[in-house]
Point group: D2
Chain length 480, copies 4
């Protein structure tokens, strides 16, 4: 019950939200203690999911599961990590959608099958998940969760293949979607990235063995070295022999999610060979070059607008200032979602520096506008603090199409830019002017060819296709 409360709400967050992050580590010796390493990797990926965390380890004989609701350091403590045996392991952090919040959906999943004990952790979204679920149900399968991971596990168990890698390869060929997944069996760790390369997954070498992770920052935090990205469509095996490619599903048009560079990835991560912080500064420079800039000062919307604001100020040759401070004590133990609570929340969370803003024409840079609510409040706050004019610059194109590949919000009704002109949006949020970077500017800043990026949320062009009707979820029937 308290878990329920903890998982309950983040209603005021007005950012696109990544669903999950995964990590997998294979220790080169049986004496490697993998649990603290997994912990460290998951901590580095915490920004990709804050609602639950879990890991499964393998000690040469059996698999061990530890998972729960909450942040990584809430789910695990050092005592329990020390007790968890195993030299190989996989881990998962999750930001569940409302429908999937029930604790039963927490990953990794650990099951027993004809291939022995198996655990899986996965992020992203399977486009043909509903069809696969129905096929399983029709075949007499029982499904206990709402996860794509359970679907994949059942398909693997029913594959009829002689060995686990063949089973996984066979099943992935039937799965259409954006994903990074890790499977831990009794003797090997499998890692796979979707054939479009939509979700990131990279490979690194540690002093203690090999690692795969959603972002390179996890490898860096483990003191390791980034070897390369897992290739789109690659099924990689980590085992006693090191790592090798089991199979490679070729021929799909690449479609790396552009929002990883706009917002999701931690600034110290590299995605597609490009550092996220530097890309964000570059987007800020593009923005300044595309739009006429007349402001006195440049500020970033805290915290994600800081990097593009630095690039913007540099290109516009305007002073960069800290104009709004985010209260660092506002955390998850925040005000309850009552009207009174919401009113107090605005004042508490963001604190303008009047001496920076008073009488000034302010250029404020933010990474994106989703629902528009935060932007509106922030502009009002700046004006109350004495800003003469507020010109808003957005480090991504108008966000008009819902993501179908694992990013929230997944419904277009929550997208304020949907069906509105930039002029209408400007009025809505109360800015004196509003400027978005162009798709071309964004692509230039990212530095990856446009045809290798997924820009669906800006263009409506969905490279992996769309699912059938939305999935009728079991979660609606659960409560903790």
């Amino acid at each position: 019950m308290p878990n329920g409360a903890m998982m309950a709400t983040n209603g005021t967050i007005d950012k696109p939200r990544e669903a999950c992050g995964v990590v997998g580590i294979w220790g080169k010796e049986a004496s490697v203690k993998v649990a603290p390493l997994c912990y460290l990797g998951l901590y580095a990926l915490q920004h990709r999911g804050q609602e639950s965390a879990g890991m499964v380890t393998f000690d040469g004989k059996q698999l061990w599961l530890s998972k729960g609701a909450g942040l990584v350091p809430e789910v695990f403590d050092l005592d329990s990590l020390a007790e968890l045996p195993g030299f190989a392991g996989i881990g998962h952090v999750r930001l569940a959608t409302q429908a999937e919040k029930h604790v039963i959906n927490t990953q990794p999943l650990l099951v027993r099958s004809s291939y022995g004990s198996l655990a899986i952790a996965q992020n992203g979204s399977i486009v043909n998940g509903k069809e696969l679920r129905q096929e399983l149900l029709d075949r007499g399968t029982v499904l206990q969760t709402d996860t794509d991971s359970e679907v994949i596990l059942n398909l693997i168990a029913q594959s009829g293949e002689a060995d686990l890698p063949s089973a996984v390869a066979k099943i992935l060929s039937r799965v259409r979607g954006a994903y990074a997944l890790v499977v831990l069996g009794e003797g090997m760790l499998l890692a796979a990235r979707d054939p479009w390369g939509n979700r990131p997954l990279c490979l690194g070498r540690l002093e203690e063995g090999y690692v795969v992770a959603s972002e390179s920052c996890a490898i860096a935090n483990l003191g390791g070295e980034l070897l390369r990205e897992v290739q789109p469509g690659e099924l990689l095996i980590l085992d006693h022999a090191g790592y090798h490619t089991h199979s490679l599903d070729p021929g799909k048009k690449q479609a790396l999610c552009a929002f990883e560079h706009v917002y999701f990835a931690r600034p110290d991560s590299s995605i597609g060979g490009r550092n996220a912080y530097l890309v964000r500064k570059a987007i800020g420079r593009e923005l300044a070059q595309e739009a006429l800039v007349t402001a006195d000062v440049v500020i970033g919307a805290p915290d994600s607008g800081m990097s593009p604001a630095l690039g913007f100020a540099e290109a516009a040759k305007l002073p960069f200032e800290i104009g709004v401070i985010k209260n660092r004590y506002v955390g998850r133990t925040f005000l309850q979602p009552t009207p009174a609570g919401r009113k107090l929340a605005v004042r508490i969370k963001l604190n303008p520096v009047i001496e920076v803003l008073k009488g000034k024409s302010v250029a404020m840079i933010d990474d994106s506008i989703v629902r528009g609510t935060t932007s509106g409040k922030l502009i009002a706050l700046l004006k109350e603090a004495g800003a003469r004019e507020v010109h808003m610059y957005v480090a991504s194109p108008p966000y008009r199409f819902p993501c179908l590949y694992g990013i929230e919000p997944s419904s277009h009704t929550e997208l304020v830019a949907r069906g509105r002109t930039v002029e209408e949006l400007k009025t809505l949020i109360g800015a004196d002017s509003l400027h978005y970077v162009s798709v071309e500017g964004l692509v230039r800043a990212i530095g990856i060819p446009k045809e290798q990026l997924c820009l669906a949320c800006f263009t409506g062009d969905y490279p992996i296709g769309a699912p059938g009707a939305s999935i009728d979820r079991l979660s609606d029937q659960r409560r903790e």
Copy 2:
């Protein structure tokens, strides 16, 4: 993490332990609020399982799950009960064995299948569970828990029958074991009792509809009327039409668990048509008649020895006294299981009344001896308090054979009477004399023909047979 701690230990308990209790209610109108009724029923069955509780309800459209670790009032609160929709529901309380303690094994289980959403709650033990699990794994099934319930659900889903009742009936014909189970589907509630009638299950009528429950005390607490017991091998359907028997598996020799009357059942319950409190008094009378009684006073070992002690004193025409008081503040928030803690525990838990005991020859009645540790401590306590002699009378025969049908302890190594004569036991526990009621005396007191009772723990004659090698459990691989 507190969950782990909460579930951790009851190491000092020296009683046989019932595994579980179940309840199922079908409201006669859609306006019936079933959740508070299920709550009340589970509260009445709390003595059958204290480690987790759960319920699933059906509101005419879908099924809703609420479960967790702890006592019934810890798992549910009135606010959440009020929010849980539904006019029909099933519930479960559980006392997990160590191997099955992981929260994933908490019942009821709720799944989606080709028969729609299905929930199951079950107590008892499936003798051929291991074979059925292996069969499922071989067929490509994935198993996520250690429960027999999951095995049954998968078998149902794979049965190929046209409707749910036929599927359940078909599967139960393959299951050999002692059980009471309730299945909630989209439109009906199924209740089944094993063909041997080993585990109890009864049917009642409420003002609000019909109810099945492990014990009649749950029906009484709901203000209802006991109609009859569910028959051995009966598959009962509760639905909009009331209740009716779907099928009846006949021809098995009946074998009601005698320990229900010795210890498990709440004193106000009726099992096999006989009230438990009155049966216990009758056992006390049998004991007094079978053994030469020379004591000054009769006392009961708190609390379960009280009822037989009253019958014993009555038959022996000796004064009944309260000679030892159980500290009613000793609960689950008790001393930690350190040596220091255990030492303190004995003094705190049981308090002798010196004025009753001093210089007296004391007849102490207890319901059973399992490990013998509590008996030894109690006798030492009485002697320290001044008792001249302590004669111990046990209201069941020597407990020498482990239960294979769902009662703990399930291993003979924990049974002190195994391989020991009564004389040796007397010396071991420090009594001046030790007397057990005979099997015949027990049977007479229960008032049910011997050939319709399971007396396996006293006689070693297992009416439902024994399982193969012990199940290799998934739980060993889990940790919360």
Copy 3:
């Protein structure tokens, strides 16, 4: 905050409630670990106060405090006990009145004064407390709690006496009230009992040193020997030299609280040289002899009616039966105090054994009637279960006058017998007949001369007098 919730309510309790219990232990050697001993003593006194617990220890150099809200095992754990240094200590359990519930009023109090560090724990009530508080305030004293203990500490500190025992003796000569108190200083433990001997306090010898405690059961639980009661008006010193009487305030008429024997004391305690369980049985015998008894069976209202019911059945030569079972899982984590919750509560808490009651004329014995609500519910329950007639016998005279010496309820508005005849009470609670034991019968059963007992709650004759207007409490201004 959760503490507040925990302390919140016991609204369904319909018994007089003792305010507190105290314990004090002086170890004979510096190597004695006093904290576990204090813990054990407090555990034995838990029935005298369930809302907070605390202890202060002395290690030869300084005093250490540990206290909190909750039951003894909730406030302390074995780890913290092991860390708490000291060979001497005092302890306190508390059942706060509503006005005093704030955690700041938790005892013992530990302060620094001109006599060095001082701690105090006290139970009972000071009749002239209000006047003493005002005197202190007028003299420039600051008061932080609502406790009499703080008043006494300030008076001691301001006494001007040369040493601590003289200061305490001087102050106690000014205090009018019913109390047992223990004071721990740097080098001695002082124990005092009010000159009327209203509140019990006894002295015992342990293997490890000497002990004073509110009840002898604490000494027994510590494995010690009861030496004698602390005399009314005695100020006892425990220190390195053993124990000795510092001073004795003589000449007050003795007035031991009769309710200790009726209800408060644990059955295994001796008060005034008489065992509480045996006294209660004797009251039951008196009752049977005073009233015409025609019932088929005798039952006790659980749990406190059991002892008198045994005596009653014995004297009336009627069968004693267990007719109502108290659910042992109903604890403090009970239903919330909503109307729905209360309704469920009655059904859950008390479970009649229909087979014992059906068609019978039942004599039900209870220790007392305070508000009358529980009696009424219980009688209704018996009748619903089929009892033909219910005759209620009460093991104390009508409770018509509020206690002014530390027992709840302290207001006559909560006493149902106030201003009602026994006939009216019978009708109110729905009994077929109602019989109270007479004052004389009660006194005979207790076995102490009437003129040495406080019977104020039955007779209105207050031996220690009454306070002025009720104290205006600081607690009204506090919230946790």
Copy 4:
């Protein structure tokens, strides 16, 4: 017990730590709900104390207390705020020193006295506190806490003055120290600032009344207007008539704590008429002008080095970059303080952006060096990430003298700069060069005359003098 854990440790923090913050609000009408306003004010001051929080309100008749351990939103919830009556109130946030951590020392204190109910909240440190405590003890006073606040309350109660303001004024004339304090009585709110003006306190006007607070950011968060600072030595009264000065203790040399501008104050606060963020940028500019700068990039040590780094980069005409990212999920629920935990902590907490640092000569700006441990780790981290050279610039002079006026650390043994040359420090932390801003540069940047600042921690010149031997604290005797 969790309280103990919550308050336990912040051992890895290597910053000077402000002891407390205070707020006081007098609503202009009885209908003003002051509790949510106090909450908002305390939330804005959270950076001044994270270990406990509390408030006392006045509703025209009596005072109400609510306080506890933890962050502001942990101690209070909106429900309890809504229940707390009152139109006037005072509040406190606290960062206890180890010796004072016991919950009994939590502020505000609420007492009853000859002036009626009184509450006090105070920050800072009383230099002659020990002498005043001894004087009170000698006079027969009992002290229950370790706080200066309790000493002041007792002195007030014993002052013999006719009214509360006179009593406070009289007592403050005897108190030597650095403080801001608020006293709430039945009818007025008193606010006082020490005669040296060492601790900040300012006055504001709200829509709902008047407010005093440690920092102007609290007034801004309440939507109010900063009127002025409370003057050094001023005793201000807020009551139904608005606000007025009761008395002014003149003639002391002013000595505003310079560290408020260096580190403590929130960037959006104004202290002494100067905005903290702009002062910090100015210090960065001074630093750049005083030291030869040859770096490729300028970075700030997160988070407090950001502001001076911006000024430094501007003055040095070097690119400002985000070179190290602080993990925003590292909070109080962090790794336990085991060696393994500490090792993991470094990797998790600070994440270098390799692409910014690789091969570069880096100028890193931090606000101060206390123990030097964090600086050393940070420099090592930058070098591991590929920085060619790391030149460290510190936005305050060498911190060589412990603060005696309420700032931690209060012992010189924790100051790494004590007894070390800058050259030695450079070697110790592993920097390629190390530069501190000069006292003169700091003073210039603050913009307040040197003779009106307290620079004791840099110069050893203590304007308010030093206390006698350190206070022997009661806390050593307490445990929660």
